[in-house]
């Protein structure tokens, strides 16, 4: 039972055209599987459906190559996100142009609904009712049903073929721990994919992570790759990693 792979290229080798991929991502590089995304760009699978909080390149924080590179490389057919567009009108992202031109299909969701649909996918919950979105554009095409006097929308589970997650440490069983706000979507995405690939700072022996501190139990993780030092790493991102490690 060996889950550890040596390269990111090897880890994403079998991603087929048309795959559904969840990518952990929120406000900066801390919890983003940067190297897995780069490897997928090199690998070149097309017609992908990306499930992530953004469609990449929203320009909110540190400027770095997140999954916007998959849009720039025209690998994406559909994106399911809550924050798909750049925060800057003058610097629209590749995804924005492709969405507006109809080249990429967008399903936009409230962030909590996106998160809960992913959790439902991992938890075997076929669908659930949430109040969020009633009488807004989100309602369109969805069943509305009243519970205890409050109208709710029926939302379906989301699953994926792959989840790309970023964690702090993994042990050899695949157990993951996260650092600070690195967690975000990563732990729930890890539960909702057939194949979860974790990009981590460090792989340790089983038993080195305190059993009560494990956030993603190992059964959810199929492949683990450790981040090595990389001279070609984007300058801004590297600086921030130095902050982290210092």
């Amino acid at each position: 039972m060996n889950k550890v792979l040596q390269t990111f290229d090897e880890a994403v080798k079998d991603v087929p055209d048309g795959a559904v991929i969840m990518i952990g991502n929120f406000a900066g590089p801390g919890g983003t599987p940067f190297y897995l995304i780069q490897a997928l760009r090199r690998q070149g699978a097309r017609n992908l459906t990306i499930i992530a909080n953004t469609a990449g390149g929203i320009g909110l924080t540190l400027d770095y190559d997140d999954h916007r590179v998959l849009f720039e490389n025209k690998q994406v057919r559909k994106v399911i996100a809550s924050f798909p567009f750049s925060t800057s009108a003058s610097r629209p992202s590749a995804a924005e142009k492709q969405i507006l031109s109809g080249e990429v299909e967008l399903e936009i969701l409230p962030q909590g609904t996106l998160a809960e649909r992913i959790r439902a996918g991992g938890a075997g919950i076929a669908a659930f009712y949430t109040p969020t979105g009633v009488s807004t554009v989100i309602e369109k095409g969805k069943e509305v049903r009243v519970f205890d006097g409050r109208p709710c929308l029926l939302e379906r589970a989301l699953k994926a073929d792959y989840a790309f997650v970023r964690a702090f440490k993994a042990d050899s069983m695949g157990n993951l721990v996260y650092r600070g706000t690195q967690r975000q979507f990563n732990p729930i995405m890890a539960t909702a994919a057939r194949t979860t690939i974790a990009e981590v700072d460090e792989i340790v022996e089983a038993g080195e992570l305190p059993p009560e501190s494990v956030v993603t139990p190992g059964l959810f993780v199929q492949r683990i790759v450790e981040v090595k030092e990389d001279p070609g790493f984007p300058r801004n991102l590297k600086r921030s990693f130095q902050v982290r490690r210092g």
């Binding site: 925060t87 936009i108 909590g112 969020t132 807004t136 706000t181 690195q182 967690r183 921030s240 982290r244």
Partner: protein, 225 residues
């Protein structure tokens, strides 16, 4: 004298709505400033959508080199500081807190707010696109929704309108509107004018507001402290 309140003053007024032990989620813009005006000795616990509770102030430009940590950011992507008693959780747990009614107060920005308390704040006007993010869950589910806004747009048009012209974030969700000229409570689908900025009259505020305001019997000047 018809001076309008500064963004900081709006934030100061909103800070008066906080209470000891309150769990608070602040949106981008003026809302973020509210944290600077929490009274000494009061414990306010901040929540951020990306999964942290009880963290400290935003890292300032001067502190950046020493304190910025890419694994300690808020939902706006700002670096924040650690505080004893903070904790972390994932996105589904974070929105379980929001949707489950565990957030006492959220402070959000505004494109338009209607007389019924409908809030619209997610579409970029003119660009035809928008980001929903965590705001919709907050607007629907926080126990108290306060909006912070200039009373009018840069072109002088009312942001408080009879009915929103842009896509809604949430219908009938706003409890309190704090602007640069007034404090207005949304009550029983009416707008109750409760406080005026110094030097402003009811008529002057009404002139900048599309729907009719009901004047509170306890109308007073905004107190910031």
């Amino acid at each position: 004298m018809k001076e309008r309140l500064s963004r900081e003053a709006i934030a100061m007024r909103i800070a008066k709505e906080l209470f000891d032990g309150a769990v608070v989620n602040l949106g981008i813009g003026i809302p973020t400033l509210v944290s600077s005006f929490v009274p000494e000795g009061m414990t306010v616990i901040y929540h951020t959508e990306n999964g942290a509770l009880g963290f400290g102030p935003v890292v300032t430009a001067e502190e950046m080199k020493e304190k910025a940590d890419i694994d300690l950011v808020n939902a706006s992507g700002q670096y924040v500081t650690p505080l004893p008693g903070m904790c972390f959780f994932h996105h589904a747990d974070s929105f379980a807190m929001i949707r489950g009614g565990h957030i006492d107060i959220t402070v959000l920005g505004v494109l338009e707010v209607s007389e019924k308390g409908d809030l619209a704040n997610w579409m970029f006007p003119g660009r035809g696109v928008g980001n929903i993010g965590g705001g919709m869950d907050l607007a629907f589910n926080a126990r108290k929704v306060i909006v912070a806004t200039e009373h009018t747009t840069k072109d002088g048009k009312p942001k408080i309108v009879k009915a929103c012209s842009v896509p809604l974030t949430a219908p009938e969700c706003v409890d309190l509107i704090v602007t640069d000229v007034a404090v207005i409570e949304v009550k029983d689908q009416r707008l109750l004018l409760k406080e005026l900025a110094p030097g402003w009259s009811v008529a002057e505020v009404q002139a900048l507001t599309e729907p009719a305001l009901t004047v509170s019997p306890d109308l007073k000047e905004i107190e910031l402290l």
